[in-house]
């Protein structure tokens, strides 16, 4: 049930997670976070903004990166140290987002790796760019 240790990781390794963002995702995220910004939950307000309609919370979309890191790369047992997001384009209800995390730096002596973390929509448009710093699970002592 443990994810990969630093010895089992190499530059270029990557994993992905995809989800179609539903209206219920946005509403539940609003409830959990408390973020009731009308851009996300008020179609009348949102239709008069630059984005011309409700959009998903940036952090909701960014959370899919957490899914890749916590479940796949490195996976369970990983300690999440840092995350940086650049929000590049809006995500709308019905968009299918693919979050991708790729190993771009390995600091074995500190047991830390840097991941390039990006999200793309169904048209291949990058909607989030960024990096994460994580500490993979340590090997079991023998």
């Amino acid at each position: 049930m443990m994810g990969r240790t630093i010895d089992q990781l190499k530059l270029g390794d990557y994993e992905e997670f995809s989800k179609t963002v539903s209206e219920s995702d946005i509403y539940l995220f609003g409830g959990v976070s408390g973020d009731m910004n009308p851009a996300h939950i008020d179609e009348q307000f949102a239709s008069n903004t630059f984005f011309k309609g409700r959009i998903a919370h940036g952090i909701l979309v960014g959370s899919f990166i957490s899914t890749v890191i916590g479940m796949k790369l490195p996976g369970p047992g990983t300690i999440y140290l840092e995350q940086q997001y650049k929000f590049l384009a809006p995500v709308r209800i019905g968009d299918t987002i693919t979050a991708k995390a790729e190993v771009i730096e390995i600091k074995s002596e500190k047991n830390k790796i840097t991941l390039q973390t990006r999200c793309f929509n169904q048209n291949g448009v990058m909607v989030i760019d960024g990096t994460a710093l994580v500490s993979p699970p340590k090997p079991k002592k023998q």
Copy 2:
């Protein structure tokens, strides 16, 4: 319903949002994000980790910052450009988190501001440190 424009903001302005993190918050966040990392949803697994029990997703805690930004400072109409998180300490079921955003830089010519964004638990321990870059709502043309 619009938030503050850049002319209405000054260095040191801040706002906060507080929430007690419930088990249901963590479970719903798991469902929305897809992040079923056992550190969050499996007490048996989690009790054998460094943290000795289930912890909240870091991004769930970080989402409270989005709440401050999107609802209060600058508020509705803001465009979220960048967010950086450093996860400093675990958050457990029942912890009460206060997210605080404070204006630390104003770039009027680009209509952008930088916020220091931090989360604290009920004991005053900083659990997240970081910054956000946002574009406040523009004044209505006359």
Copy 3:
């Protein structure tokens, strides 16, 4: 508040429950079960499968049978012993499902009954066939 005892049941008795399956039902079921199979939450993936789009989890549809049993036939106080499902056809977002449970065998000495348990969509297509074995609530002692 108690359901029917075995003396109050006869062969051919039946009850139904109907619900239109929403996208949010599927997403919440995914969150509760942990089943993030892309067939259910990734429209891009699902549109390239045999089913040509996202479908509901079979067990979500099957859960409507539990609703009939636990609330109506025999109702509260029933102990659910066995359930068999055959998944015959896909259920899509917006389909209206009717779950029907009908008494087909009564074992009075063991206080158990067998129910034929079927689900149909709005076009009358059987999407689940199967049976349940349950123990109805016992009469109150006097």
Copy 4:
């Protein structure tokens, strides 16, 4: 993103999924299924039953098996044909359930496999026994 084809499976292969069952899981499952049986959502009623308190819906616990099948064994692309559950013991709020699916029969000519599907609580007590019949994803044509 596709699961294992029948050529990639052998007798004895197994996968697991674990989750601590929360009160919110039971309530959300009640909302999605419509199953408002007081055994699950009414502590006053439930404390006077044989089980002495609220218990999880059997199908909610059984849904963790769907998670193993749909995500891991055989995984995405699998068609779920049949599921049989025997409910052997109650599951309470706070129990940690491990669902395990193991290949016990392979019918290559029909592209079907039978899985033994069992759920255990944190004390090793089997709470569900049963089997599933599934059709693994077919190899891509070349």
